[in-house]
């Protein structure tokens, strides 16, 4: 029976089923036991999905203490001999996965967005940081894959059977010095978010100047950040740190929703790297609409309300 471990990082609980789908792509139809590891959050959403849940919350491990996390996962691997380990490609995973790879016999591939079996070889696809290329990495059949997977690169696993999950409380991290060599001192919310790191941006222009604050709810619902065109910033309705444009931020999110933005060249130049673009405008011939995947002709506020309602319905139906 194969074994797969999914490390579910705090704040990324919604990725659990998607990571499981990624793991299934590795193991295909082979029968397998699924294990989840959590260090924060709740086990509620994981019960019934995984065969076993390792509950390490009592260890109070810090998210960025990669040495301690690597020791913990390494200790679990020594006992359970996983055939595949998957986690979300986050900042903490950038530090954790390589540390874990050093002492294990893993085939490490980071930022995976697609997995295939080609000519009998497991092949993972990734888009390198800063890159305009895509590379295919083959993993040796003698090495359990250790994968960090881009958020939302895989869909939710469908038709999964409800399982009787057993909970295993983790009482030993295998890293006695964890709490002394790296320690968290303080944490505070920043008033100026870094929109260049966000995968989803909901941007407003002159067309929504009447109520720029309305964008926040949609950004939250999509797990993204709010951005603004220069027109909004110059009116004092948004801080300059979230301005998108030649004199602001150049962004390359996966999704850019432009609400009431005309699309001056200075703005358009800064969003050329976006994977997908949806624009909402009363003028379908506005320059930004020519670059869009979808153009919604209409009122931006009405769009925000309607989309929020539909996302809520999707969540209520269990589709999200």
């Amino acid at each position: 029976m194969r074994r797969v471990l999914i490390y579910i990082e705090g704040g990324y609980a919604s990725q659990g089923l998607k990571l499981l789908q990624a793991a299934k792509s590795v193991l295909e139809d082979a029968p397998c036991e699924t294990y989840a590891l959590i260090t924060v959050g709740s086990t509620d959403d994981l019960r019934g999905v995984f065969d076993c849940i390792f509950d390490a919350r009592s260890q109070k491990l810090d998210l960025f203490d990669a040495a301690a996390m690597a020791a913990l996962i390494g200790a679990l691997h020594a006992d359970y001999h996983f055939d595949c380990i998957v986690m979300t490609a986050t900042r903490s995973a950038v530090m954790l996965a390589p540390r874990l790879a050093v002492h294990g016999d893993f085939g490490l591939v980071t930022d995976v967005d697609e997995i295939k079996w080609q000519d009998g070889q497991l092949t993972c696809f990734r888009r390198p940081h800063g890159g305009r290329t895509r590379v295919a990495i083959a993993v040796s059949k003698h090495a359990p894959p250790l994968l960090t997977v881009r958020p939302d690169a895989f869909g939710l696993q469908e038709n999964w059977t409800v399982k009787e999950s057993r909970i295993v409380e983790v009482t030993d991290t295998g890293h006695p010095q964890a709490s002394t060599r790296l320690r968290k001192i303080a944490r505070h919310e920043i008033a100026e978010p870094d929109i260049s790191k966000s995968a989803v941006l909901v941007a407003g222009g002159g067309g929504i100047a009447g109520n720029f604050a309305a964008l926040r709810a949609l950004a939250d619902a999509l797990g993204g950040e709010v951005a603004a065109s220069r027109a909004i910033v110059d009116r004092g309705l948004a801080p300059r740190c979230i301005q998108v444009g030649q004199s602001g931020n150049h962004v390359a999110p996966r999704l850019y929703i432009a609400l009431g933005i005309h699309g001056a060249i200075q703005h358009v130049t800064a969003i050329r790297g976006a994977d997908y673009l949806i624009s909402v405008n009363t003028n379908e011939n506005a320059p930004i609409c020519n670059l869009s995947d979808i153009v919604v002709v209409g009122d931006a506020f009405a769009f925000v309300d309607a989309l929020l309602k539909m996302i809520k319905e999707e969540k209520g139906n269990g589709n999200v």
Partner: protein
């Protein structure tokens, strides 16, 4: 206090990322530039050295000899010593080889704090610093935007890490490894005119991989478990524009699109 700054020089052609570990630029014709995150690390280190007379700063890189002019420039900016480990085969583009070489050198170098970049623009996954930290058994943290060092090498370094909406302050017991990002705002100064032609030969050292200082019982040479098999240039993005109205059918189109692309 001894600081070591690990620097990666990326080929100009790779600045838009051609791939990952196993691509190697043409040593004879490639032009190189310092990776932006690493430049921030070096700028921070130079700033710290300027503030404190007890700090010595060494630059360390695994690369081709073609980067020597850039290394010499770093010395002219204030680096005390620069070491280039000449990796003929992969020229610093293979993570496993790079980690192995750096581990051998740093094991003896006894640095109090090792500064690095967090990710490289040539497709690097940011794996080298944490792998190296694991081998050296030091705490390590990437994506740092600021660093305060203690007054002596027995204390704790204090860093700020920005992650999404949050900034968290951490303390790391020295010796430690800290990865900066270009977002830290640290910028390298310009070389003063009078320094441009200053000879720095006695401060720049080139080691071949066969050098005795790079061979030791602590050698780490893992088996290669992955291999890059294909590189695909992404085609220019062409968008199939769909125009919809603000009606139920139009909104369904939007929601279906978002679901298909896994945004909801």
């Amino acid at each position: 206090m001894k600081l070591v700054c690990l620097i990666k020089y990326i080929a100009e052609r790779d600045r838009n990322a051609s791939g990952t570990e196993q691509s190697a630029p043409d040593e004879g014709t490639a032009r190189f530039t310092i990776n932006p995150d690493d430049a921030s690390a070096l700028a921070l280190a130079l700033g710290l050295k300027k503030e404190r007379s007890d700090i010595t700063l060494e630059l360390l890189t695994v690369s081709t000899k073609a980067v020597l002019p850039l290394v010499e420039d770093a010395v002219r900016l204030g680096v005390d010593r620069a070491t280039l480990i000449h990796d003929r085969e992969t020229m610093g583009n293979d993570a496993l080889t790079t980690v192995s070489l750096l581990n051998r050198y740093l094991f003896e170098a006894l640095a109090d704090c090792i500064l690095t970049g967090s990710q490289s623009l040539d497709g690097g996954s940011g794996a080298v610093p944490p792998m190296l930290a694991e081998l050296l058994q030091v705490p390590q943290i990437s994506f740092v935007s600021s660093l305060d060092l203690p007054s002596n090498e027995n204390g704790y370094a204090r860093v700020e890490l920005a992650d999404g909406q949050w900034v968290t302050d951490y303390e790391l017991e020295l010796p430690a490894m800290v990865g900066l990002t270009a977002m830290s705002g640290q910028k390298l100064p310009f070389i003063r005119l009078k320094d441009k032609r200053r000879s720095v030969d006695d401060q720049v050292h080139v080691l071949e991989t066969t050098d005795a200082r790079l061979v030791g019982t602590h050698d780490w040479q893992p088996e290669r478990r992955t291999q890059q098999v294909e590189t695909m240039e992404l085609p220019p993005r062409t968008r199939q524009r769909t125009v919809v109205s603000m009606d139920p059918k139009g909104m369904e189109t939007v929601v279906s699109f978002l679901k298909e692309k896994h945004f909801i």
